[in-house]
């Protein structure tokens, strides 16, 4: 049976080539009385995000002194106090190399994101891609990747050959999400765009050629061609959604045009772009455009190139070149930059927490996974990695815990998050980074 043909026929039959106007009554209140679900009873969708920030923190200055519920933030994390009850901090976890060589500023990211150290021969998918397969298949964008340091790289990937590029420009991100193809979910009436209908029909003809194109390929080329057709299927789904009346999203508002901001690794530009990206992502999530997003504040392509204007060194160089101030006990410039980068993360959380949804906020139905490349960048260490989750994933994750798990693999956090989001996965990672042990304290 040719399913593609059937899909096309079904589409034609459904729309019959005629623009359909669907009148939908606009509810005074979309939510139930608790604000945890739509009035229809459907749960507000859970969402997932990652935050990458290079070069970690200073050991002894970020870990809370108290373990368990109700921690007090250490000095480097004090700016996260407003969100403390929605944040979990993980200390003591490490990246295992198992005698494999490490790239000082890549391996940490890789194991946190993929559970493995990729080789030129192959790479497992990153956890956001795994999560997107579970929660991201019914949104316009399966995932959205952005960077704040001007780079186009990311740690998000489906495989070694299909790496999701980051969008560094908020203006381009705005156009992508809220350009002419955006359909406001709260519009009272809906009219499918005949152009979208026609495009959808055309794409199905391309899909039908798949067998001819994949037939005689060797294994690796076939995998690459399959990735193309997976992407094409995603594009078809995007159009399918464009042809349906979207579910109303109570907190959806369309932002004004994104401001032009200079894209680059200057810390001030990174913070400005981070703020714009955060606002756009919050709007995109509130409007149901995606349920998965990845933000590389720095380190989008490996080493963190974030820099202070006028300085001959960038952040990465500082970590290796700056002496420890004997009175302070840390590298002053590096520590200042760590704080500025964390300010970006706090800004992201503030943007999500500022979107009200009944008695709750957008941050309450999201969980973000924060990871970095080094426990202590000055020495390229891969133990005591600073990790966090932020957000409550629609009540599936509890916040306000400091988990100390010295010697455990970092993959425990990723596995816990994936399971909380409903991914059918019992263990994650390879070699000594393989774990089946979730962090039960934070699972609701």
């Amino acid at each position: 049976m040719n399913t593609n043909m059937n899909r096309r026929r079904a589409l034609r039959g459904m729309l019959n080539g005629v623009a359909v106007t669907v009148g939908v009554p606009f509810l005074d209140c979309f939510l139930n009385t608790n604000g945890t679900a739509l009035a229809s009873g459907a749960e507000l969708p859970v969402a997932f995000g990652t935050w990458v920030q290079g070069l970690g923190f200073n050991p002894g200055f970020w870990e809370p002194k108290v373990v368990g519920k109700g921690y007090t933030n250490n000095v480097q994390f004090e700016m996260l106090n407003p969100f403390k009850d929605k944040i979990n901090i993980f200390s003591g976890m490490k990246v295992f190399l198992d005698a494999r060589s490490a790239m000082p500023h890549s391996t940490g990211y890789q194991v946190c994101a993929m559970g493995d150290i990729p080789t030129p021969a192959g790479s497992p998918p990153s956890l956001d891609s795994i999560v997107a397969d579970t929660i991201g298949t019914r949104t316009r964008f399966r995932s959205i990747e952005v960077s704040c340091d001007g780079g186009v790289g990311s740690w998000s990937r489906r495989s070694a050959t299909a790496i999701n590029a980051s969008e560094p420009s908020p203006v381009a991100l705005y156009k992508r999400i809220f350009g002419p193809e955006f359909k406001d979910p709260n519009n009272a009436s809906f009219e499918p765009d005949p152009q979208d209908m026609a495009r959808r029909s055309v794409l199905s003809f391309v899909t039908e050629q798949r067998q001819d194109l994949v037939g005689d390929l060797g294994a690796s080329d076939k995998a690459r061609m399959d990735e193309y057709f997976t992407a094409l299927r995603g594009l078809e789904q995007q159009l399918d959604l464009q042809l349906q009346k979207p579910s109303p999203m109570p907190s959806c508002t369309v932002p004004g045009n994104a401001e032009e901001a200079k894209v680059g690794a200057d810390i001030n530009d990174a913070l400005a772009n981070g703020k714009l990206h955060a606002q756009l992502l919050a709007h995109a999530l509130a409007c149901g455009q995606t349920r998965v997003f990845n933000v590389a504040f720095s380190g989008s392509g490996g080493g963190a190139l974030i820099r202070i204007p006028g300085s001959t060194q960038n952040f990465h160089q500082w970590t290796h070149e700056e002496g420890i101030d004997p009175k302070l006990g840390y590298q002053p410039n590096c520590t200042w930059l760590m704080g500025k980068c964390l300010e970006g993360f706090a800004g992201m959380l503030a943007a999500l927490d500022s979107v009200r949804e009944g008695d709750h906020t957008l941050l309450d139905r999201i969980v973000m996974y924060y990871f970095t490349d080094n426990g202590y960048a000055r020495l390229h260490t891969l133990d005591n990695m600073p990790l966090m989750t932020a957000g409550l994933a629609n009540g599936r994750i509890k916040g306000g815990y400091h988990i100390s798990a010295t010697g455990d693999p970092v993959t425990r956090v990723g596995l816990t998050v994936m399971q909380a989001l409903g991914v059918p996965i019992s263990n994650w990672g390879t070699y000594s980074n393989d774990t089946s042990k979730i962090v039960t304290d934070i699972v609701a």
């Binding site: 790239m103 000082p104 030129p120 399966r142 001007g150 495989s159 070694a160 299909a162 790496i163 999701n164 590029a165 381009a172 992508r176 005949p194 209908m197 026609a198 495009r199 029909s201 055309v202 794409l203 003809f205 391309v206 039908e208 050629q209 001819d212 194109l213 994949v214 037939g215 005689d216 390929l217 060797g218 690796s220 080329d221 076939k222 995998a223 690459r224 061609m225 990735e227 193309y228 997976t230 992407a231 094409l232 995603g234 594009l235 680059g264 690794a265 200057d266 392509g301 820099r307 204007p309 006028g310 300085s311 001959t312 060194q313 160089q317 290796h320 070149e321 700056e322 002496g323 390229h380």
Partner: protein, 547 residues
């Protein structure tokens, strides 16, 4: 504007055999076309005034070349979204120009099989770089008709069908197909269309033109005489410049300019224009020397001749006659020759090398030395170890260590670092007369610069002399042969027959180290079109074939 090829070409609908799914033919390569190749094909097929907007998925570098990474990259959903957007933009412009569609529909308000087939057959052949198959044409016409019916407009139908073609795998990937070699029993060779594409992307960084496609279609390209004639025709064409530019842009990693930023407070003269002009200066130098003047490749490291814009001249602090330009007109490129006494010479002392391989706020002898070893000499420098105290190395305020040499000497006392730094630093220190943005200097922090050193036992006293040492090094010519061979074949030099490479290198010397001669020898070699296909690979390939 060149006349669009679509109006010249004649579509021929062939069978699925051209896709390599007939008995005993096998797909042996799948390479994603580069952004520049995409743009060039659009210009060649539809005209130079078609606008292309959007962002391409980043390419991937493998064994020193993006051209090799092209055989490994895939398309992500975000990437396809971008391709789709670009394709629709291009297709809308094409459909709006009725003269690009070589027939008139019976009525504009409905589908028209015959006219859609004629148009899509025309462009399909050029975009897919081979005749479009019956199945493909049927699908594209079906798509055009469906869209035309839905939108009640013939041109909207062909527009959307064309857009689908422009984001299809047949267009975005170069598929190389092997067929049995009738001259060598039991061996395989590339089929004529694959060979045509391989030649065309190598020489012109573009898809085959109608002449080359016709030679493939007639079988003339499979004859020794016909093949050699095409090779010589393409080498003699002005379009060779685009191919040579593409190769050197790839080899010199000029894609990194997209991410290059300099600190505006430290290097105020390093403007957006300088960033844009830097690679162009080197490419103009290379093309002038190697193609226009058919010079010796090694001379790119010693030449005093270059091309400058006023912005670049300001970085170099050299006098450049102003040209009279109308407001808004881009700066003209002016040929420039450094006086014999000037300490600068060769591309290693151009902004494209010294600024690209520096930090944002300072030079880096280590990064420059590493780049020279890896890019120009094809030598691998090990990655730095962990747990290193770098503090002394680059503390510019350290009163004891005023220059990079002094700082690196202090660093060399760390035993774990000495080995690699001996490989890289002497080369980079020779270029210390150029700061992190390419500006000339003789002192750092008030201390005179010592740019002397040695490369593999051969001494030099400054950057220009380093250029001469690089010029004379057998590693330099060995590297360019390896890189160009890898680039042409699409496989790392390590996978190529060592004896053949050795012969190529000897012939390169005999030919006066001329790049067009080397290109010709590579293209005319059996290795260029021979395919090594193991029985297992062939069997695997056939297993999946829908025969």
């Amino acid at each position: 504007m060149r006349f669009p090829l679509a109006l010249i070409g004649v579509a021929t609908a062939l069978t699925a055999a051209t896709l390599g799914i007939a008995a005993d033919t096998h797909t042996v390569g799948l390479r994603r076309i580069s952004p520049d190749q995409y743009r060039q094909i659009i210009v060649d097929v539809f005209g130079s005034d078609i606008k292309i907007g959007g962002r391409f998925d980043p390419d991937s570098r493998d064994n020193g070349l993006l051209a090799l990474g092209a055989a490994k990259v895939s398309v992500t959903q975000t990437g396809l979204e971008q391709y789709d957007g670009m394709a629709r933009t291009v297709a809308a412009q094409v459909a709006a120009r009725r003269e690009l569609v070589p027939c008139k529909p019976a009525t504009e308000k409905a589908a028209d099989d015959a006219c859609a087939a004629k148009f899509l057959g025309h462009v399909g052949r050029l975009l897919y770089r081979r005749p479009i198959t019956d199945n493909e044409l049927k699908a594209q016409v079906g798509a055009a008709n469906a869209a035309a019916t839905q939108l009640k407009n013939f041109y909207s139908g062909v527009e959307l069908s064309l857009a689908a073609m422009l984001s299809s795998p047949q267009f975005l990937y170069r598929r190389e197909i092997a067929e049995p070699d009738p001259d060598h029993s039991g061996q395989y060779r590339l089929d004529a269309y694959s060979k045509a594409s391989k030649l065309s992307f190598l020489f012109w960084n573009a898809a085959p033109d109608v002449t080359l496609l016709a030679a493939a279609e007639s079988g003339y390209l499979n004859t020794q005489k016909g093949y050699a004639r095409q090779v010589d025709r393409m080498l003699a064409s002005p379009r060779l410049e685009a191919g040579v530019r593409a190769f050197f842009s790839d080899m010199f990693a000029f894609d990194d300019f997209g991410m290059l930023a300099k600190d505006a407070k430290i290097y105020p003269q390093f403007s957006v224009e300088v960033n844009a002009d830097a690679a162009e200066e080197t490419l103009r130098t290379v093309v002038d020397l190697l193609i226009t003047r058919r010079g010796d490749y090694r001379d790119i490291f010693t030449t005093k001749k270059t091309f400058l814009t006023p912005d670049l001249a300001s970085v170099y602090a050299v006098p450049l006659p102003r040209t009279n330009l109308a407001n808004g007109e881009p700066d003209a490129w002016v040929p420039f020759e450094y006086p014999a006494a000037d300490p600068r010479a060769g591309i290693l002392m151009q902004v494209s090398f010294v600024a690209l391989h520096s930090h944002a706020g300072r030079s880096s002898p280590t990064i420059r030395g590493k780049a020279l070893r890896e890019i120009i000499l094809c030598q691998k420098v090990p990655d730095p170890p962990g747990n290193v105290n770098f503090t002394v190395v680059q503390d510019t305020s350290n009163p004891v260590y005023k220059t990079a040499r002094e700082r690196l000497n202090a660093h060399a006392t760390e035993a774990m670092c000495t080995g690699c730094h001996k490989i890289t630093d002497p080369l980079g220190l020779a270029l210390e007369n150029l700061d992190g943005a390419g500006g000339f200097r003789t002192h750092e922090n008030g201390a005179p610069l010592d740019t002397s050193g040695a490369m593999d036992g051969v001494k030099f006293t400054n950057g220009a002399e380093l250029g001469q040492v690089v010029h004379d090094s057998p590693a330099t010519t060995g590297c360019i042969v390896n890189r160009l061979t890898s680039y042409a074949l699409g496989n790392p030099a390590s996978s190529v027959d060592a004896e053949w490479l050795k012969t190529l290198q000897q012939n390169f010397a005999k030919d006066g180290f001329r790049i067009p001669n080397l290109l010709r020898r590579i293209a005319l070699s059996d290795e260029f079109s021979r395919v090594t296909l193991t029985k297992t690979a062939a069997a695997d390939s056939m297993k999946g074939s829908p025969k």
